[in-house]
Subunit: 260 residues, 2 copies
């Protein structure tokens, strides 16, 4: 389907197309389509734009990523479907580590996600040269403690040894298990009430493809700041407060929408 | 997948299974899965129960259906996937008319939906005996004015001549077009802000499989009331006010959830 760029919901419809295509390609489980729909509602309630509240979380996340010794970006089918290129660009600004971790783990989907990264010639070149590492496929031989599902299977070089993990588009008990391991978790989650959102060190309540370029911009900018300055940014941020502000924002939106 | 009945979200997970199965069977378009996810978020925000606010809308809808001279239930893929039996039971309490009307109309999906009704032997028998009529498949030769899409194609015996139309699970401009034709539209829609919700005569903001048995119960009960009493129930209901109450309910839920 050709969506005209002038359509008021152009980006939302484009994302929907990407998600449907990813299902057809076997990158996404069917449950991933339903999860995408859940996110659409939250984005609609938020107003389909990056709020100042989300921007503060993005800046804090950037500071944490720059301060990190060994960060890793954890990706699932939805994330790869929507933002393959942007994830790679962000990883390049860091240490290049991307780890595939699936709720419905299957060898076939893992393989298809790997192929999806590699079919882009620019990304393939970066993987070949070692600037980008796609972990968690052949090397998922460690186990996150207190997490029984197949999702607990992680790479030693990636999530298992990481100090900071960026987790886009996920709900469940993995974030809590990672935090219990002493890791810092940055999540990107449109639902401010999800377990992931509530348990994360920093929760970015924003749509993935909208916030990733901003996160990358701040990572690049913040490399010029000294550690004390970055630590100050992190210290001044209160995730619980930020989530509360987001819920208030949604309430205000609901009230404004009903009066129009 | 076997979901234990004790699971706190048993019904929600069961519905999700039904939706995935309907996609596999060709009853549902992929966009139907995303739409289901959007509904899940609203139901979660509402609290996954029938509120008193929704109950008032259900009672009013029942009164309108009992007063109707020629009502019809309009169904799409999602509705049939989730509530085939309940839709038939409700139609039996009325004049037996069900009309299939699809956003993504295709002959194949129409045929598969018809087969899905008929594969249930009890329903097949009712169709055979004429107690239930599945309209809109071979007889969609009328056009709703001011609605260009294939969704405007309707049956003379069904939507075109109906005075009251029950529209579950739909968003779009069809409701407005039907209201402009002078029809009363009762919608079942988890999103109180959707165009359908905003344009309907009565909007039931509740989950489909939860509210249909209630709607049927009140239709049965209200057959014992006289017309004046039923008209009083309809007159006392204010849809705009009801939608506003629902948005306030969601806001309060958001604030309560954040403090737990």
């Amino acid at each position: 389907m050709d969506i005209p760029k002038s359509h008021p919901r152009y980006k939302s419809l484009l994302n929907r197309e990407k998600i449907v295509e990813a299902l057809d390609r076997g990158i996404l489980a069917k449950a991933g389509l339903i999860a995408h729909g859940r996110g659409e509602t939250f984005d609609y309630l938020i107003g389909e734009r990056t709020t100042d509240i989300a921007l503060r979380a993005i800046k804090t996340a950037a500071a944490i990523l720059v301060l990190a010794e060994n960060p890793v970006i954890s990706v699932n089918g939805n994330t790869v479907a929507l933002a393959r290129e942007e994830i790679v660009k962000l990883a390049e600004e860091l240490n290049g580590k991307i780890e595939v971790n699936l709720f419905y783990r299957s060898e076939e989907r893992l393989r298809k996600i790997k192929e999806f990264f590699e079919e882009n010639p620019v990304i393939r070149e970066k993987i070949k040269s070692g600037r980008i590492k796609i972990l968690g496929i052949e090397d998922a031989n460690k186990q996150i403690p207190n997490l029984e599902s197949a999702r607990g299977r992680v790479s030693q070089e990636g999530i298992y040894s990481a100090d900071v993990i960026l987790v886009p588009l996920e709900d469940g008990d993995r974030t809590e298990a990672l935090v219990k391991m002493g890791k810092k978790v940055i999540s990107i989650d449109l639902n401010p009430l999800s377990r992931t959102a509530q348990q994360s060190t920093v929760t970015i309540v924003d749509e993935l493809t909208r916030c990733l370029p901003l996160l990358r911009k701040y990572v690049r900018d913040y490399k010029n700041l000294d550690r004390e300055e970055l630590q100050r940014i992190v210290k001044e941020f209160d995730n619980k407060e930020n989530l509360k502000n987001m819920l208030n924002h949604i309430c205000n939106r609901l009230k404004n929408l009903q009066s129009t």
